[in-house]
């Protein structure tokens, strides 16, 4: 039930789904336990029933209805019936054609170890063998032509991005000349204009980042905004310089133009794989100015002596997105993750999920640093263009200043460093001693994710 709650795009969908859990709405309900699949046909308002299939292993789903909510009420209802009345499903030995179609189309997180990939396409050996039976043998010249075309495309992109960064440099200089007071006041228009130029010139990821600067500035008090603007623009300068020095660096390319595909990450020998027990700390779902919804899920490695985090990041269009995976804050599971290559590996993919683990305390991280932001500073040393870092804060508490704004402060340092918190906090939180707090530090604000306290785990995201 927790999973269904977490998956639902809003409360209205949940309540519509609850009305659809009547048996009479579902002329067909079947399951195949070996494949971890449930499917059914739901009699909707149309003449034909909607067909819904759900992978109970990774919560992937498909429904034939025209709804623009993901997952739709039919999908939620099917999962709900499975959770509350599993006996309603008839066991089916084979899967219907439409389920097979979907299975064939989707990129599933397999539970087999990833096969060695063959180049950027990353097909499994099995698939490659099948292809070999059917495909005509390509001659060496065709391969050469294709690779040459790829090289040319990469070269074109590089020179386009390089020109984009020249424009960005000029734009930053213009902002300094015109004055940051004006930039702060008009950041929305000014950032939109340069971001649009960067998109045209294939520096897409950088455009998305610049598009978010205005909202990052507006989240601060007016007297803090000039400093924040200096930090945001200064980091862009550093990122542009770093890219120019090593344009083929995977991390820098990801931050400036485009991310690798899942297959490319799996195929990259530099991508670290970590098998451990992970706890879902929390998630952030934000609609960006470029029309995408970014869904960040933050994980904590429970087997690591020092706090180690992972970020599962999904983007989908606000109008027609889907979440490929659903986790509930507090969930713990045993899994192998592969990290996108980076100076501070953080963004990751789940390669193999082995099963859930019961909840408990976090490891004792033995906090000894005087500076609660020491981890953030270390990240900045290696990758100064980063904005947000996950941090694990030592024992502390949340206090209020005379404006009613919340601050985190260390228990051992009651008159020392205090860190301002981005959002309003529950008044109850003010009475709890926090043994450890996981948060994101944006350079000026803390975004709380989760904490451990005398009352157990606290979900703060």
């Amino acid at each position: 039930m927790k999973t269904i709650e977490a998956l639902a795009p809003d409360q209205a969908s949940l309540s519509s789904a609850s009305k659809l859990t009547k048996q009479s709405n579902w002329p067909r309900l079947e399951k195949n336990e070996q494949l971890a699949l449930i499917w059914g046909e739901c009699q909707g308002s149309g003449s034909n029933p909607y067909r819904v299939v759900v992978d109970t292993g990774d919560h992937g789903y498909k429904c034939t209805c025209p709804s623009r909510k993901f997952p739709c009420k039919h999908t939620l209802a099917l999962m709900w019936i499975a959770a509350t009345a599993p006996a309603s499903f008839t066991a089916a030995g084979s899967t219907p054609e439409w389920v097979n179609d979907w299975l064939g189309r989707r990129r599933k997180i397999t539970s087999q170890p990833a096969a060695p990939a063959l180049g950027a396409g990353g097909k499994s050996i099995g698939e490659a063998a099948r292809d070999d039976e059917n495909a005509a043998v390509e001659d060496a010249a065709a391969i050469e032509r294709r690779e040459a075309a790829q090289r040319k495309r990469a070269e074109d992109t590089r020179s386009s991005v390089s020109a984009a960064l020249d424009e960005l440099d000029q734009w930053i200089s213009d902002q300094l000349r015109l004055g940051l007071a004006g930039f702060v006041d008009n950041s929305s228009d000014r950032c939109r204009r340069i971001a649009a130029r960067l998109v045209d010139m294939k520096a897409t990821a950088l455009a998305g980042r610049i598009d978010e600067i205005p909202s990052r500035l507006m989240g601060l008090r007016s007297e803090e905004r000039p400093d924040a603007a200096i930090r945001e623009l200064g980091k862009l300068v550093l990122l542009a310089k770093a890219w120019r020095s090593t344009p083929d660096d995977a991390e820098l390319r990801r931050l400036v133009s485009t991310s690798e595909s899942r297959e490319q990450v799996l195929a990259n020998p530099e991508a670290i794989q970590v098998e451990s027990v992970w706890e879902v700390l929390g998630e952030k779902i934000e609609t960006r100015r470029d029309g995408l919804v970014s869904h960040s899920t933050w994980l904590l490695d429970l087997k690591s002596a020092a706090p180690q985090f992972a970020l599962l990041l999904d983007y989908f269009p606000a109008s027609a997105g889907r979440r490929s995976n659903a986790f509930t804050p507090g969930d713990r599971f045993d899994a192998r993750l592969v990290f996108y290559p980076a100076r501070q590996p953080l963004r990751a993919l789940v390669v193999e999920r082995k099963g859930d683990v019961s909840s408990g305390q976090w490891p004792d991280f033995g906090f000894d640093a005087v500076d609660p932001l020491a981890a953030h500073v270390a990240h900045q040393d290696t990758a100064p263009w980063l904005t947000d870092s996950p941090v694990m804060l030592p024992p502390g508490a949340i206090l209020l200043d005379d404006r009613g704004d919340a601050w985190w402060q260390s228990a051992d340092d009651p008159h020392g460093i205090a860190l301002p918190i981005a959002d309003t906090v529950s008044p109850t939180l003010l009475g709890l001693d926090l043994a450890a707090t996981a948060a994101l530090w944006s350079g000026s604000r803390l975004h709380l994710l989760a904490a451990q306290s005398g009352f157990g785990r606290l979900d703060l995201s």
């Binding site: 009345a85 000349r177 007071a181 200096i230 200064g234 980091k235 900045q380 206090l399 205090a418 009475g431």
Partner: protein
Amino acid sequence: MNEIEQTGLATMRDCWITGGTSFDLAPVGWKEIAGSANPDERERRLLAIAAQALEIALRPAAPKTLKRRPPLPELALPMLPERLRPLFRAALKQAADARGKSRVVALVASRGFVLHPMDWMPAASDQTSPDVYAPWVDWQAGVDGEKHTRREQLTAENWDDFYPAARRTALADMRRTAPAAARQLIETRGSSEPAEVRLALIALMHFGLGADDVPFLKSLSADRSGKVRELAGRLLARLGEHGQPGDGGPEDPIAELAAFITEGKSGFIRRRTTYAPAKLKSPAQERRRAELFETCNLVDLAARFGVTESDFIGAWQFGADNNVDILVARMVAASGSDAAVAHMADTLVAEGGKPALFVLHLMPRLDSRRQRVLVRLILKDTQYLGALSLAEGVEAGWLDWADLTNGKTLPALRTAVAGNDDAVKRGVDQFLETLGFLATAAAAEKLIGDVVAAGMAPAAPSLGLLRLNASLTGP
């Protein structure tokens, strides 16, 4: 970052805010890094250095005014297991109003658990949540941590060491075990409290109310607060003490109320006295009658007609006027003696039918045996199932499956679930929530299966409290 760099950074920052070139203002070391490039590039390099200096070398200035709330006290019961928290949140969300929400909380407490503070907290003004939450009520009210140790007996000396909610809980416990000692405390320490607090303390006197309390309650007739005087009068009335004798004239409220009541006779052979509401001429008169019922005491009204409380209730013609019947029931609940309340409950429940529903107003005054008898009667009859949701002060989690199968409740429920009448379905939802509060865990589980088989969606939100109940099988 040294002092020179900090000063340099501050002046560069000011320069950039207004717009311009900051190279001449930069610290020497920074100039060396930026030095050989063209003017635009120099500024960008300085901007990058300044950005990292701000990011790494500076920390937010902690305001001197930071205030720490006292730690939230731990409660005497274990916390609801983690796996049941989503069920609780769903049930709480489904509860339509504050009363519904407090039932969800009471059900959990009745099974020996308290809630996670991030899921539910009592309000600072809360006086209805289970006693176990008293420390949290006081914490919400902004007092600084517990000063008394738990299980410490409340005395006149340590009175000030207890916070209001904890004190109320301690006094209520004391009234049940040593009523005289509790009364003495209320008498000696309560008099200096403000009227609102005094009123809450005097209200606790209804626990273990007895003849020994009469002198103290009578002394309150001179209290500064009208509300305290009225409450003391009602408590005295419960003990059979008459209020201030009126002069019987038109200004005497008892005489005025009696004039709104018609005395009659019934029966051919054994003539019995009857009392019924008089037919009134205007809504204004009806409003006045309602006001008088709210303020007059049963014992005085019965005495006005020259009969005992029980005789008056026995002779009252229930069923003649619903609204007036409700007023009578409320008057009995507020000021009737224990014997009168029990007599009214027993008489009406024995007769059954619609008049038995007026006993719902007496619920908070009834012992649990009588409460259960009434609930079972309403369930058996099924005609007025909706009225159950009005029951106040009923215990949680005792209704057995046998109570539900003994009568027409389940068939009626199944028919309503299978039907298509939205209004009826809303009634069913409310009824299921009431049963979610009353049922035992085993009965809750069976009931879910029963209504789902009848066609209710297994995930229907109105089954939320039943689902929570079925999962709460004790610590």
